[in-house]
């Protein structure tokens, strides 16, 4: 081989790699074998075929619900693409108020500074409650003493003043054994953390810092189930999936012990840890036919989607409110 030939073939090989990787992207519109059955009912098959993209971002807690809606909606309108991002509630609002997304998922209500950011870009929106979550406080199966905790006891464990002081269960309540208290919870970026600290410690973001934080709720499951004196909190779905390893603590906020469940979360008796989950569509986006079609589907089949995605569905009253809120949004502006 002469040098020229060698050069050519080397360049050709490099080019081939590039071309191959690009070409592999082209022909792949194969059907999706996972979509053979449909759990939620599709109401109208007669709707005109739309196309376009509905951009959704925000809370990772709400994402599975919107993703399930996106998947089911895709069976009806395959040309409409609904990518769902998980930047977190705060990150989602930042993009939403910058006009970069159509719908924002949120596990807490929008805050004043976020409202101001939206107003600065003249983005108007509406708040829709799409499901309920019960923040579940869990202990391992070996824990026989903490079947019910009062909100004061939880505060004693989690408040900033507890840092370095409340180290065993006995420090929380003299009746409990002197087992080491090992706390696990979500990281400070999470909407779940915001909600829990607000509901239990009385101030959003105020928490002791010497606990094991994780953005991945599965780490909390592993941590709590592996430590006799462990305690952690996360959304109800993670508890349901791991009910064989963990016990959900009943919560007493002054009206007796209440266990987290679909019913107690729906009727609000599981206080103060049951919380609404939201989506925030922008008024401008709802004017687009593809976004309207997606939200029509989402709102119209909300409880079927919620059940399918293992969320706690809305009760009749909440569902009626969601539908009227959504109609109001569509007729607004």
């Amino acid at each position: 081989m002469t040098r020229g030939q060698r050069r050519l073939s080397a360049v050709a090989t490099t080019a081939l790699v590039v071309v191959l990787s690009s070409a592999a992207c082209g022909g792949s519109d194969a059907g999706d074998p996972s979509d053979t059955s449909s759990a939620a009912p599709a109401e109208s098959g007669a709707a005109a075929q739309l196309s376009g993209e509905v951009k959704v971002d925000g809370s990772s807690t709400v994402a599975p619900l919107t993703q399930a809606a996106s998947e089911l909606f895709g069976e009806e309108q395959p040309q409409v693409r609904v990518p769902v991002g998980t930047s977190g509630t705060g990150g989602g609002f930042e993009k939403f108020c910058n006009g970069e997304t159509d719908v924002s998922n949120a596990s807490r209500a929008i805050e004043d500074d976020e409202k101001a950011a939206c107003a600065a870009k003249s983005i108007t929106f509406s708040e829709l409650t799409v499901a309920t979550d019960a923040l579940t406080v869990v202990v391992p199966k070996e824990n026989t003493w903490a079947t019910c905790l009062t909100t004061d006891q939880l505060k004693k464990m989690w408040e900033p003043a507890a840092e370095g002081k409340v180290k065993t269960w006995k420090d929380v309540d003299a009746k409990f054994p002197a087992e080491e208290l090992k706390l696990y919870g979500p990281g400070t970026d999470s909407g779940t953390f915001d909600y829990f600290t607000d509901a239990i410690n009385g101030e959003e973001g105020a928490s002791r810092k010497d606990y094991s934080p994780s953005e991945n709720d599965n780490d909390i499951v592993t941590g709590v189930s592996g430590a006799k004196g462990g305690l952690g909190y996360f959304g109800f779905t993670y508890f349901e999936e791991n009910a064989d390893k963990l016990t959900a603590v009943q919560i007493d906020s002054g009206n007796g012990c209440v266990a987290p469940s679909v019913e107690t979360a729906q009727n609000g008796t599981y206080a103060p840890l049951s919380r609404p989950l939201f989506i925030y569509p922008s008024t401008a986006a709802v004017k687009k036919p593809e976004v309207a079609a997606f939200l029509d589907y989402y709102v119209g089949n909300i409880n079927a989607i919620a059940t399918d995605a293992q969320f706690i569905p809305l009760n009749a009253e909440q569902e009626a409110k969601l539908k009227s809120d959504y109609e109001a949004l569509k007729s607004a502006g």
């Binding site: 490099t14 590039v18 194969a30 759990a39 951009k55 959704v56 990518p83 993670y238 791991n242």
Partner: protein, 296 residues
């Protein structure tokens, strides 16, 4: 050289009293190697074992699904990753190689501005990838208004790998002996002819190896894409450079945080796919190097 090439003769040459220490040193070296490779093997075995039930064509034929993880695949992630890598190669490789040629063949290294450029390139290679994510978000996605598209992702990753491409290309060019250049110039070739006909062809194996390794790094990146808002659930392949997209590392990350066990199996299977793509690219790099390497 030939005498020293086997360990036994090295020990013999070391003289009396040394063998025990030599042995201990060799054991220390070997155990370091075993630790490094052992953990790698353990990781691979764990991931393959975990993901084994899901390693099937479904994995690249099906789209991700939040509702049916047991039959879901990661096609949009694989295709998204290939798009990003393809575009990154198109943007970063020519720019990087040309920059390296300038720095090696044209730049006067005694000039202060060239020194600053060199220092900056070395520093940029060590910048954490999340910083490039912030840059991409601020400049490319928002200021240039490219949005959260394949183009934004590829441009950001191009910036990320560019310093690595430049550094490896420079080393490849530097490895070409000056006598080749001098010979070419002495025979009347211009500087450009010398570079194009003599230096570059000799340096191409090194450049290709470095470039592929740089692109392999880009494949595994999740941090900049998290900043750029690559959506976690994307049930379509990108259709062009202005399309929304996702990449494999992001999908793996989102599967791992799901509550259902099936997602964790799916994540492991997706990791195997990611490793297979990486391994393929690294093998191409090794093959290129062995095939075209030239010794003077």
């Amino acid at each position: 050289m030939a005498v020293l090439s086997t360990p036994r003769s090295a020990v013999q040459l070391a003289g009396k009293g040394r063998p025990l220490r030599e042995h201990l040193f060799r054991i220390a070296l070997l155990s370091s190697l075993v630790i490094a490779l052992g953990f790698l093997a353990l990781l691979l075995i764990y991931v393959v074992q975990e993901g084994w039930p899901r390693i099937s064509p479904t994995l690249w034929e099906a789209m991700p699904s939040i509702r049916r993880p047991e039959t879901a695949g990661v096609q949009s992630g694989i295709v998204g990753t290939l798009w990003i890598i393809g575009l990154t190669a198109l943007m970063a490789l020519p720019t990087g190689v040309l920059a390296a040629i300038y720095l090696e063949e044209y730049a006067d290294r005694t000039k202060w501005y060239n020194k600053i450029i060199e220092l900056n390139i070395s520093n940029l290679a060590a910048v954490p990838s999340i910083v490039y994510g912030i840059l991409g978000l601020g400049i490319i996605a928002r200021w240039l208004e490219f949005g959260f598209t394949v183009m934004t992702g590829a441009m950001t990753v191009s910036l990320l790998v560019l310093p690595i491409v430049i550094i490896s290309a420079r080393e490849a060019i530097r490895a070409v002996p000056p006598s080749i250049r001098e010979g070419s110039l002495a025979l009347g070739a211009t500087q450009w002819q010398t570079i194009y006909r003599q230096v570059l062809p000799s340096a191409i194996p090194g450049i290709a190896t470095g470039s592929i390794l740089a692109l392999s790094r880009a494949i595994g990146e999740a941090a900049p894409f998290l900043m750029l808002g690559a959506a976690t659930l994307v049930r379509f392949n990108p259709e062009g450079v202005w399309s929304s997209f996702t990449v494999l590392p992001i999908q793996i990350y989102s599967f791992i945080t799901q509550s259902r066990e099936e997602f964790h199996v799916l994540a492991s299977a997706a990791i195997v796919i990611l490793l297979a793509i990486l391994l393929l690219m690294n093998s191409i790099a090794i093959w290129l190097r062995n095939r075209y390497q030239k010794r003077w």
